[in-house]
Amino acid sequence: MDIVVTSITFLIPIFLLAFILYIIRAIKGPTISDQVLAIDAMTYDVAAFLVVLSIYLRIPILTATAIVLALWIYALDIYIAKYLEKRELGE
């Protein structure tokens, strides 16, 4: 049995457990900031997870999706921050 595949099989449940805990905070969060922070951490978690999973499945072409996911969740942060700070997004 391949050492890489065996190790990643045992590491995936740990990632998934963290993922579930982040989702709980993202659903529960008392304020909007808590929710966005949890989504932030969850999405970076997912991005790391996608790279690991593409090695596990041996499909290299799927790695490109991680770049896109890492780029866009920053945009969500900025939008919510601007809304909380200024109320008018355009200026």
Partner: protein, 125 residues
């Protein structure tokens, strides 16, 4: 040589997974937003940056990927760099906006040097 890369990479992925779990537990256990900021930083740098670097190292040494392992490694390093740049900036923007919009109150509060009016001395504890 390739075995060494694979072992280092797997160790980094394992370290990242464990840090991610710790950060997720902290996310649920900490009391207010400013403390959760700390957990989120652990979760993004140790929980995302380190495993992606580890996965890139594994991909360089992993034969079944064939010629495309350089693609995986390159995309992985770019993604890791993006996480390293973007995660702190996003957290910063969110924290600053939260403080300015006054939607999170910290109780009990010792001192708030940015805005004294937000600090309610001697709260519930």
């Amino acid at each position: 040589m390739t075995e060494v890369l694979i072992y280092i990479g797997l160790a980094l992925i394992g370290l990242g997974a464990v840090s991610d779990l710790i950060a997720a537990i902290g996310m649920n256990r900490f009391k207010n937003f400013y403390l959760r900021l700390h957990a989120a930083t652990i979760g993004t740098i140790w929980g995302a940056f380190v495993p992606i670097i580890g996965a890139s190292l594994v991909a360089i040494g992993y034969e079944p990927l064939g010629y495309y392992r350089w693609f995986v490694a390159g995309a992985g390093f770019v993604a890791a760099l993006l996480v390293l740049i973007l995660a702190p900036a996003g957290s910063h923007a969110l924290a600053r906006a939260t403080h300015r919009a006054r939607i999170v109150r910290v109780e009990p509060c010792i001192a708030d040097h940015l805005d004294e009016t937000m600090c309610i001395k001697g709260g519930s504890e």
